[in-house]
Amino acid sequence: MRNEKLFTVLFSVIMLLFVFSFIPNKTTKIKFIIPEGWPKPVYSMSKIPLTEEGFQLGRRLFYDPILSRDSTISCSSCHLQATGFTHVDHTLSHGIGGQFGTRNSLALMNLAWNKSFMWDGGVNHLEVQAISPITNKVEMDESLEHVVLKLNASEKYKRLFNSTFGDTIITGQNFLLAITEFIIQLNSYNSRYDRYMRKEQGATFNEQELNGLKLFRANCNTCHTEPLFTNHSFENNGLAADYLLKDVGRMRITQKAVDSLKFKVSTLRNIQFTPPYMHDGRFKKLSDVINHYTDGIHQSKTLSKKLMKPIVLSANDKIDLVAFLLTLTDKEFLFDPRFTFPRE
């Protein structure tokens, strides 16, 4: 009799444990903020859980060199927070074994508003963007299949994926969704420009900056459209192709001659901290960039229509324009502790 009772109790406990193992872990929902006056994001967020757990998992993956073949390179190797999540000091970004790529890494911010990714728009969806640097021979030189294998061999990651997705088996899909959870939160909308536009107390522009804004709207805004400072198009901005790289840009993807020498119009937010400039990083200073637009346009068949008429700026105008561009610096974003290397 006593045995029977014991058995009943034991059985109940086992059943309870069994039932509990099927109750999904508690997760904390987080918000995706659409700044005032901004358009709706392009990215739908329908597949990602939008939870604190997912965000922290994505953050961990972003900073983990496990994504590269020899565990030397992480996403953050070329996308450093303090410099707008890009690689400074190098004309072209370098990856595994110190090998150089053919382009300057792009700054990561406000990605949910982008329609396509990379300088040539070859990646059509934010969730699959990470596959490109992981599999690139001179970046991380790894396969997605092998990354998934390595993650599945890690008890820590199995636990973290389980608490985010309710599944201890890590799939390529969930890995990509976790990375996406983190990078869609890298949003910059608290620069002095933003505060000034929102008429926040204490947010002012001096005369130089006001003139710079006027000049910007007259000469640059068609492509670098506010508030995202890009219209997400591809343009030939009058840079002669490098003699060695012979990079045709967008044409590599579309295979159409009309797209020759066209590259993504990149955002100007945090531009102060993201040198060098242009797809091949040929300009080190903002003044070099402005001088290019006034005096350095290389004529070619696919040159942007907006650059056919020369941009005329006086020496003072150029100084004012730079002064305005510096108001796009968002220190809150560049030093946000939620985006830094995750400590255990």
Binding site: K47, M118, G122, V123, N124, H125, L126, E127, V128, I131, S132, I134, T135, N136, S143, L144, E145, V147, V148, T171, G172, Q173, N174, F175, L176, L177, T180, R252, I253, Q255
Partner: protein
Amino acid sequence: MIVSIQFATAQGALGLQIIPVFNGKPLILNDKMYGTENGDSVSIEVFKFYMSSISLRNESKRFAEKSSYHLVDAEDSSSLNFKIENIPEAEYSLLTFNIGVDSTASVSGAMGGALDPSIGMYWAWNTGYIDAKLVGHSPSCNTMHHQFDFHIGGYKEPYITLRKVTLPLTACVISKGHTTLLTLNVDVATWFSGIHLTAMNNVVIPSLEALKIADNYMEMFENNTKKGGQKK
């Protein structure tokens, strides 16, 4: 008083058995040499493709499998046999499906299951699915290890490689509680129709050559179901 009661339609299943062949003979990977119609001798190392949007129809009925994506891989015997369930009872006269993945899937980000990008049927630099892959070796190829690589895909005009296949069925009766078996041969030899491996041995981006190969492999299916052997 008239009481209308709707009964759930009786349903059965279709079992698909895919048999990779070369000129009608069972395909042996790696070790066997085969002759193409243009006289190239080849061995096959990788042969895989997506079958998607599988549907069955007759004059009055059409059944379409939901989320219908299957990766068929000559190396993975479990991928060569799969089952489609919940098919309404009827005799069906046509089987239709696509070779490849529709454009919607190619623009929808990170997908799961057979479409998980970690399976290796996905391009990273110019995103989109690879519809079908054939990799092998031939002395005709003046390449490293005499290898030829056909990674066929493309979802944007003018290089769309998705191909629709329609196969007539005879006596394909789906009945409640049964799995009706269909055996389909897929003949790798069709890939090489009109192709000289000396000239074309590396087709790995959406291109005119990819379209040519897709038009070729569109013909690779043959219904090889033995008469009277359909019911299990």
